[in-house]
């Protein structure tokens, strides 16, 4: 394909553009350029602050908190993105220099090195997302094991309380903002354009920029451990006014969320435009695979909700750095305002973190049961139902917060009702299984494990919706159990399921099925032993986010801690399987699961531009068992006949 690009470039040149000047190694997009542009932009930010302070006559002129905030968290990251090359094309265009509309110079991976560069191929970006987020998953899990070590016994052993609070906060923040949400963006990045029959995402360069903002966010979260006073320590919820009074590490959270949020919003816009405008001929909305439906609704949630958390974090930070009083009661601020704005994002965020998983599970259960998905239209409509209800339930996080009493009953009812569309999905998966021809490969094991654990998470959600129970259980370990049944038993299981399912397509090689099953069973058992007892200690009286607790909970906490280390160890099996299988696993067929959706009808891994010719969609995506049924017809070289 490289030669095609060259020919293409040549073609453009003949139309009269001057040949682009070959640039020196420090001027080419990449790490070497980032190495000097990033510090340069830090200095620019720094001297903006210094100059303003000097002009205003403020003392000290070199105030390092403001310098780190402006230069370290705003201008230096922009410098990094500039240096690495995410803005090159747009800046050339702005400057009136020659650009090629079809410039594929940074498209596709031809060697492993291409995965470390700015790339516009949705398949490369998808894998970049998955590898990067897996790194933060491991770091976040490591932080969790550190504080589980502290919690194994009552009393204080390893950390002081501020460090403990910092570990808890950073664990949740890494897992939510730079693992679960972007890992789904990674899987969808890889799968959605292929499933739609599209050659790429609608905005490939924006797609690359979205990805590269992610390491910036993760680095800021981790860098907070170096700040004086330690990492941000107010939980991932970062409630005001505590968050405005904490040591400087708090600002790393406020700003990290901005970068992660910007990445998330840009990706969601990209998905929306791609899904609306780039479906192959014949791909009506009612023929889209449920994974596409799931990412469509998720993207709507992201686009509508994420700006709220961005706003809430800016306001908290302004209370601190600019002495505003959005949430400071002494000067007329409204403390509960923070929680309303925060949860207006963060409750929909729970669905942002689980709807894509629903999509993955629908694909897998249908394929490995060899049956059409049961009630396809109701499955799609229940996603829309969750989308709408998701915006009317936020204050169920605030039943004990001191908000207006009358808000509690309506919020309880809407929260209870959201169990209905969720229930529809679960029952439809079960009906899909029934009378199927079930193959228990690793993706299917994770899918079934997901259904059983997610049901527990959903049902404990019903308890928490019931206001009197919530009043007792709020801010206890019951909440910790609930959120982990939803986000680990829910989201993480689906991420594993999705990675195993598409691994042959992504890499062109098969993973080791035996290790996959070992990974599933060790994860499933250790997960339940870790998190199920938390329901009990919570209801019995152990609050969350405490470094020390009553001695009566010592035995169960020891069990929980030991199980959590086993859970951590199970990830090693996964990593080993992925790395060795990618390097030297058996070559994968183009369609090892005999699936009908379009991504399986092209070679493994797919060609750089996905399809030689755009496919024609002729039927539904899950017509298993229907004689002669086809989802799509593909023509051309590497393409295969759909399985009948």
């Amino acid at each position: 394909m490289t030669s095609t690009v060259d020919q293409h470039g040549q073609h453009e040149l003949q139309q009269g553009h001057p040949a682009p000047r070959r640039r020196g190694i420090f001027m080419r997009p990449g790490y070497l350029r980032a190495l000097w542009v990033t510090p340069l932009f830090f200095l620019i930010g720094m001297y903006i602050v210094v100059a303003l302070r000097a002009l205003a006559g403020w003392d000290p002129v070199y105030d390092w908190e403001y310098i780190v905030l402006v230069a370290g968290m705003v201008t230096a990251p922009i410098g990094f993105l500039l240096g690495i090359g995410t803005f090159d094309y747009w800046l050339y265009w702005v400057a009136g220099r020659p650009t090629l509309v079809d410039d594929h110079a940074n498209h596709g991976a031809y060697s492993w090195k291409d995965y470390f560069k700015v790339n516009t191929d949705h398949k490369v970006i998808g894998i970049q997302y998955l590898v990067t987020t897996f790194f933060f998953f491991v770091v976040g899990g490591f932080l969790a094991m550190l504080f589980r070590a502290e919690l194994a016994e009552p009393g204080m052993q390893f950390f002081d309380t501020q460090t403990f609070n910092g570990l808890v906060s950073a664990h949740a923040t890494l897992m939510i903002f730079v693992f679960i949400i972007p890992a789904f963006a990674g899987l969808a990045n890889f799968a959605v354009p292929l499933m739609l029959g599209a050659p790429d995402m609608a905005f490939p360069r924006l797609n690359a920029l979205s990805f590269w903002m992610l390491p910036v966010a993760g680095t800021l979260f981790l860098a907070s451990f170096l700040a004086p006073g330690g990492a941000f320590a107010t939980g991932w919820t970062s409630y005001a006014p505590l968050a405005s009074e904490q040591p400087f590490g708090q600002v790393f959270f406020n700003m990290g969320v901005q970068w992660a949020g910007a990445s998330s919003i840009a990706t969601a816009l990209n998905f929306l435009v791609t899904i609306i405008t780039m479906r192959a001929p014949g791909m009506t909305f009612w023929r889209m695979p449920l994974l596409v439906w799931a990412n469509f609704t998720t993207s709507l949630l992201v686009v509508i909700a994420t700006p709220f958390i961005a706003g809430s974090q800016f306001f908290v930070m302004f209370d601190r750095v600019m002495h505003t009083s959005f949430f400071i009661p002494d000067n007329g601020g409204y403390v509960l305002g923070y929680q309303h704005i925060f949860w207006f994002y963060s409750h929909p965020a729970v669905y942002i973190m689980v709807l894509p998983g629903f999509g993955i599970i629908s694909e897998i259960i249908s394929v490995f049961s060899r049956k059409p998905i049961f009630g396809y239209r109701l499955m799609a409509m229940s996603l829309i139902g969750i989308l709408v209800l998701a915006f009317s339930v936020w204050a169920h996080h605030m039943f004990v917060a001191g908000m207006a009493d009358w808000l509690r009953i309506p919020m309880m009812i809407s929260t209870l009702l959201i169990a209905v569309p969720t229930g529809i999905k679960v029952f439809s998966w079960l009906a899909t299984l029934w009378e199927g021809k079930i193959h228990l490969n690793t993706p299917m094991l994770f899918a079934l494990g997901f259904v059983s654990t997610f049901v527990i998470g959903g049902l404990s959600g019903v308890y928490l919706a019931a206001v009197p129970i919530d009043i007792h259980a709020s801010d206890t370990y019951f909440i910790v159990a609930h959120i982990h049944y939803v986000l680990f038993g829910g989201s993480v299981f689906t991420i594993f399921a999705g990675i195993y399912y598409w691994f042959p397509k992504m890499t062109g090689r098969m993973y080791d099925e035996r290790l996959g099953k070992l990974h599933f069973w060790s994860t499933f058992i250790a997960f339940n032993v870790t998190f199920f007892p938390m329901h009990w200690v919570g209801l019995d009286g152990m609050p969350r986010r405490v470094a020390d607790y009553a001695a009566t909970y010592g035995a169960l906490n020891m069990v929980i801690s030991v199980a959590s280390f086993v859970l951590g160890a199970s990830v090693v099996i996964f990593a080993y399987n992925m790395i060795t299988s990618w390097a030297r696993g058996p070559i994968a067929e183009s369609n090892p699961w005999r699936a009908m959706t379009i991504e399986w009808q092209v070679s493994s891994p797919p060609p750089v531009f996905n399809f030689d010719e755009i496919p024609q969609v002729v039927g539904g995506p899950y017509e298993y068992g229907v004689p002669g049924a086809r989802h799509a017809v593909l023509k051309g070289g590497a393409l295969q006949e759909a399985h009948v």
Partner: protein, 343 residues
Amino acid sequence: MIAVVAAVIASLVAVLIRWLPESASEEMDRITFVFWFATIICIGIFALVAAVIIEAVWAFRVQPDDDTDGPPIHGNTKLEIAWTVVPAILVIAIGVVSAVVLSKNANAGSDPLEVKVFAQQFAWKFEYPGKVQSEELVMPLHRSVEFEMQSADVIHSLWIPQMGQKQDVVPGITTKIVITPTRTGDFTLICTELCGLGHATMRAPVRVLEPAAFRHWLDEQRAAGAGAGAGGAGGGQSSGGSSAAGDAALGKTTFASAGCGGCHTFKPAGTDAQVGPDLDNLVADAKKAGEPEARYIEQSIVDPGAVIVTGYQPGVMPTTFGKTLSPAELSGLVAFLSGKEAN
């Protein structure tokens, strides 16, 4: 069949576990009722789901080389309506029961005891009618206590696990909660909203007494409070050597009520926390800062960022003590901390 057995066993285990602590309030009795009402519904649903998964895997699993497909069933409208409507009815039932219990639990009845709660990093203070203040929460048996709660700094949350009720204490607004104790005994009140580094230690003792014993305790407190109040006022005005001891006595109670021991080691107060600097080293620290001891102590309470002891971080200690402590309490604390014995 095997699936049904598994489901029944799972349900039995879930029903037999004592999930909630033994109730000690009328409100917790009602919460316990809602809990079991929801549990029976939820266990039923979980057992159904688990049984179907196990049975499906058991009955419909095929060999890896089986290339056949299942029957092309696309749906069943009646079934789909059923599993939309039935769960909707069940959750609405939970909602109705919850709403009734919620309104009962918020009702303090005709003759509640009103107790004001003041929360600050990292201590609780309770005020009874007649301005009687206490660091211990004492409640009469079978009488509703209505709490009116205020916070001096950040959000805290009041919870006594056996009594179920929980309510955040929010700066800038007053929040309310009702608890009606149903058995005597000792309990612990804990803060459940992350409020900073002393959060895990922000607790207060709770005692529930027979009504007569409670009245006796209240009278006792009232008498003691009047004495201490007069002594404190007197100590604040005079400047003789004898008042220093009275100051230090007030300082000792203030040290406990303001929660200093949650973060600081101070041998005379018997505390050993290690979050903030060890206050037994105050003489040396003051010398290092080059200030007279009394001034150094007062400044460090009112404006903790002024001098930071080596090895500790700024921005950790609450900055609100200058506002929340009375001048008498402040001078008492300074006297107590500078080593003047309380008598």
